[in-house]
C-alpha cells in the first residue's frame, strides 16, 4: 500500500511538471476536430449527424499519441531496472501508470468534448450518453495503448499505433453507437463497454507485464 501511494505521487509529480503532456493532446484533438468542418462540410445538419463518430475518432487518435510512451521514459533512463531490482509488483506499476496517464490526458479531452455541442452541433440531449461512453471507452483504449507501447518499447516506429488501433476498433464502434442512439438502445452498448473494460483490465495488464519483461531478455 505504501508503495502504491508513493508510486502514485511520483507519477502525478512527473506528469504535472510537464505541461506539454496535458496541452499536446488537447491541441491535437481540437485541430483534428477542425479538420472535418474545414475539409468535408460545415453544414450544421451534416455535422450534427457525423458528430459522435468524429468525436470518437479524434479522441482515439489523440489518446493513441499520448498513451504509447508511458513506459518508454522509464525504460530509457533505467528506472524500470530499479523496479525489478527492488522487486516491486509490476502489476501495480502498470495500473498506476495507465491510470495517471488517463487522468492527465484523457480526462481533459472528455471535458473538452462537451464543447462539441457548439463546435460540431452535437445534439445536446445525447451529451450525457457521450460523456458516459467516453469515460468507459477512453479507459479501455488506454489499456490497449499501454499494451501496444509495452510491446514496441525501445523502438521508434509507428508500430505501436498499428497494434493499438485495430484492437481499439470495437471500442470505437460501441462508443460511437452509444453516443448516437436514444436512451432505450444505449444501455446495451454501455453494458458491453463495461464488460469490455472489466475483462481487459486483468488480461491486458498481465499482457503488459509480460511484454515489458521480454525487453529484458
Amino acid at each position: 500500500m505504501i508503495f502504491l501511494k508513493s508510486f502514485f505521487s511520483r507519477e502525478v509529480l512527473i506528469y504535472s511538471k510537464k505541461t506539454s503532456n496535458v496541452i499536446s493532446p488537447v491541441i491535437f484533438f481540437l485541430i483534428c476536430i477542425s479538420f472535418f468542418p474545414l475539409a468535408i462540410s460545415n453544414d450544421p445538419n451534416e455535422l450534427s449527424k457525423l458528430a459522435p463518430g468524429l468525436i470518437w475518432i479524434c479522441i482515439l487518435l489523440a489518446g493513441m499519441l499520448s498513451i504509447q510512451t508511458i513506459f518508454k521514459e522509464d525504460y530509457d533512463d533505467g528506472s524500470l531496472d530499479l523496479f525489478y531490482v527492488r522487486g516491486f509488483s509490476m502489476l501495480q506499476v502498470v495500473l498506476v501508470k495507465i491510470f495517471v496517464n488517463w487522468i492527465f490526458t484523457a480526462l481533459p479531452l472528455i471535458l473538452l468534448s462537451c464543447s462539441m455541442v457548439f463546435l460540431l452541433y452535437f445534439p445536446i440531449d445525447k451529451l450525457f450518453n457521450l460523456i458516459g461512453s467516453l469515460f468507459l471507452g477512453t479507459l479501455i483504449i488506454s489499456f490497449f495503448g499501454a499494451l501496444a507501447g509495452a510491446l514496441s518499447l525501445g523502438k521508434n516506429s509507428i508500430l505501436a499505433s498499428a497494434i493499438m488501433l485495430p484492437l481499439s476498433l470495437p471500442v470505437l464502434i460501441l462508443g460511437s453507437s452509444a453516443s448516437t442512439y436514444s436512451n432505450e438502445n444505449i444501455t446495451f452498448f454501455i453494458l458491453l463497454l463495461s464488460a469490455l473494460l472489466f475483462f481487459s483490465v486483468p488480461i491486458i495488464s498481465l499482457a503488459c507485464i509480460g511484454a515489458i519483461r521480454l525487453h529484458y531478455e
Binding site: 508513493s6 505521487s9 511520483r10 509529480l13 512527473i14 511538471k17 510537464k18 530509457d76 533512463d77 533505467g78 528506472s79 531496472d81 530499479l82 523496479f83 525489478y84 531490482v85 527492488r86 522487486g87 516491486f88 529484458y216 531478455e217
Partner: protein, 199 residues
C-alpha cells in the same frame, strides 16, 4: 552471503559466460574483469534480478526474514533520474534513497560538492553531477550488498578518491561489494575474470 553456482547466461544463440561459481562473503570486495562485451554488466544485472533467464543458481544466505530484494544496492550504467524534476524531488521518490533521512542525504551531497544544487532541475546538471547524485545515495545507504557498474565513470579526480574511500568504508563495516571498473583506483580482495568463463 551470496553463493553463485554454475551460472550461465545465453544471449541469442551463444553463451556469454558459462559455469561461473563463486561466493561473496561479508567484507569482500570483488572486481569483475574482462574485455568489453565479456558480460560484466550482464552478470551484475543477473545478480540484481533484472535479467531472469539465466541457468544455474543464485542464493542469498544468512539473511533474516526480510526480502532479498531489499538488501541490494544497484548502481547501473543508466542514472534513472527524472530530467524534469529537481534533485530534491528525485531523491524523495528514488528507491535508492529509501529510508535515508533528508539531512543525511544533504550531508552526502555536500561531500561530493552538490549541496547548492538541491533545487536545480536534473536536466541542468552535467553527466558527472548526475552521477554524483546517485553516488551520494550510495554513500548514505546501509545495505549489505552493493553491485556497482562503473562507479567511477564521469567523475573528477577528487571525487574518484572520495568514492573509492567510501567503498572501502563500506567493506570495513561488513558489507560486500561487487564492482566493474576500468580504473586502477580500487584495490579488490578478489578478482573474477569473465574471459575465463567465456565459451
Amino acid at each position: 552471503m551470496l553463493t553463485i553456482q554454475g551460472l550461465s547466461y545465453a544471449y541469442s544463440d551463444r553463451f556469454l559466460f558459462k559455469n561461473l561459481s563463486f561466493d561473496l562473503n561479508s567484507g569482500e570486495l570483488i572486481q569483475l574483469k574482462g574485455r568489453n562485451g565479456s558480460g560484466k554488466t550482464t552478470l551484475i544485472k543477473v545478480l540484481c534480478g533484472i535479467l531472469k533467464n539465466y541457468e544455474g543458481s543464485i542464493s542469498f544466505v544468512n539473511f533474516d526474514n526480510s526480502e532479498e530484494q531489499n538488501e541490494i544496492f544497484y548502481l547501473g550504467h543508466k542514472n534513472a533520474l527524472k530530467d524534469n524534476l529537481t534533485v530534491l524531488e528525485n531523491l524523495k521518490y528514488d528507491y535508492r534513497s529509501d529510508g535515508i533521512e533528508l539531512a543525511r542525504l544533504k550531508e552526502n551531497l555536500a561531500i561530493l560538492g552538490l549541496e547548492n544544487y538541491l533545487f536545480t532541475k536534473v536536466s541542468d546538471l552535467s553527466e558527472g553531477q548526475k552521477r554524483k547524485i546517485i553516488l551520494s545515495c550510495f554513500i548514505a545507504s546501509d545495505k549489505p550488498i552493493y553491485l556497482l557498474d562503473e562507479p567511477l565513470i564521469n567523475l573528477d579526480e577528487e571525487s574518484k578518491k572520495i568514492v573509492s574511500s567510501e567503498i572501502e568504508n563500506k567493506i570495513n563495516s561488513g558489507a560486500s561489494v561487487i564492482f566493474t571498473s576500468h580504473e586502477k583506483n580500487i584495490l579488490a580482495t578478489k578478482d573474477i575474470n569473465l574471459d575465463e568463463y567465456a565459451t
